[in-house]
Symmetry: C2
Subunit: 208 residues, 2 copies
């Protein structure tokens, strides 16, 4: 989904294969070069298309990288493992696996950095990535409430706030752990995180 095309009814249609090739080439370049040394000319070369074709579809490097990275997160799913704790551990491990890939690491943080001065880009990130993955939190929460592991929400407004908060805490913690602290997101860490989320600080990381 490069951009919202007004869908012209006539003329030569845009090649869908070119889209896929460009996004794949972008991820490949992210792995080898990182964000700063990635150039659109290089991406065009890898994808086997002309540089001008690239500029016809995306406004610039930032938007291209957002679309290339967003595809990575669409494969996320919430496995039903029978309990809230197990569900959380499962999805966090999958999320961490995606974040371990270099194209996700360098691409995601770079566009977030760029979005601080570009409201349009920020909105693109929000709709393409953030809002899209909140479905995981909603699903996991509803599942836990059906199981009786979580109390029902007092009102819809509080429910929304709860979803937003959980999403920021979980996603933020995993991102910070793997990208900033540069520590492993392994089973030990995930178990500690889940314990903290479920029971709070009082229990401590060793208690379980």
């Amino acid at each position: 989904m490069p951009r919202s095309t007004p869908a012209p009814r006539t003329g030569r249609p845009r090649s869908a294969a070119a889209d896929a090739a460009i996004l794949a080439a972008t991820r490949e370049a992210l792995v080898e070069l990182g964000w700063s040394r990635l150039t659109l000319g290089d991406v065009a070369l890898r994808a086997g298309v002309a540089k001008t074709t690239l500029y016809r579809r995306w406004p610039g490097k930032n938007e291209l990288v957002v679309d290339a990275v967003a595809e990575l997160f669409d494969e996320l799913e919430l496995p039903d493992r029978g309990s809230l704790a197990a569900d959380i551990e499962g999805v966090v491990l999958r999320f961490a696996a995606i974040l371990a890939r270099p194209e996700a690491r360098s691409g995601l943080m770079a566009v977030v950095a760029e979005s601080t001065l570009d409201a349009t880009l920020r909105e693109r990130i929000r709709t393409s990535i953030v809002e899209r993955q909140k479905r995981l939190v909603r699903e996991g929460k509803a599942r836990a409430q059906r199981r009786g592991e979580l109390p029902p929400d007092p009102d819809p407004e509080a429910a929304d706030r709860s979803v937003d908060l959980i999403f920021d805490v979980v996603a933020g913690a995993v991102v910070h752990r793997s990208l900033v602290s540069a520590g492993p997101v392994d089973e030990v860490w995930v178990r500690d995180l889940t314990a903290l989320l479920l029971a709070g600080l009082g229990s401590g990381p060793a208690g379980r």
Copy 2:
């Protein structure tokens, strides 16, 4: 601290004022241009020094920005407000205030993104920023344990894991909330976050 100078005993000494001017100019340029459009030539011009002087002190843009941003977080302190919950709320609000500044937003995320392909830069970030601010968690935790709000740690190894986890969860949540989700870190959100940290998911955001 541009870099570890071997401290030559002879010759003209490096101007300390130039260091400060360069770092301040870097932050100023980050505000106006963001990371990608920031050029070292422009920073040198703003700081009133020659471009060559800049290259003599820092290897490149990444290292310069790390140092410029690291200074911002040194002003963080942990106010003693009498309870663990109040302490957390206080430091989170201060942290968010720093993250609200454009020079911190764009600079921090950009260098984190760059560090994914540069182990040296990653280490520089870890020592200059991350490890330095973990003191807040250690202090807050020790204080709460003295008050009896938190149980003592079973062993030093578990204590370290606990500090790392709390730091990633708190810092990650605040960063994710303000930079990725682009939501406000206000008193309402901080209260919900603190409640989640202390009591876990069971209580919900409305319970307090």
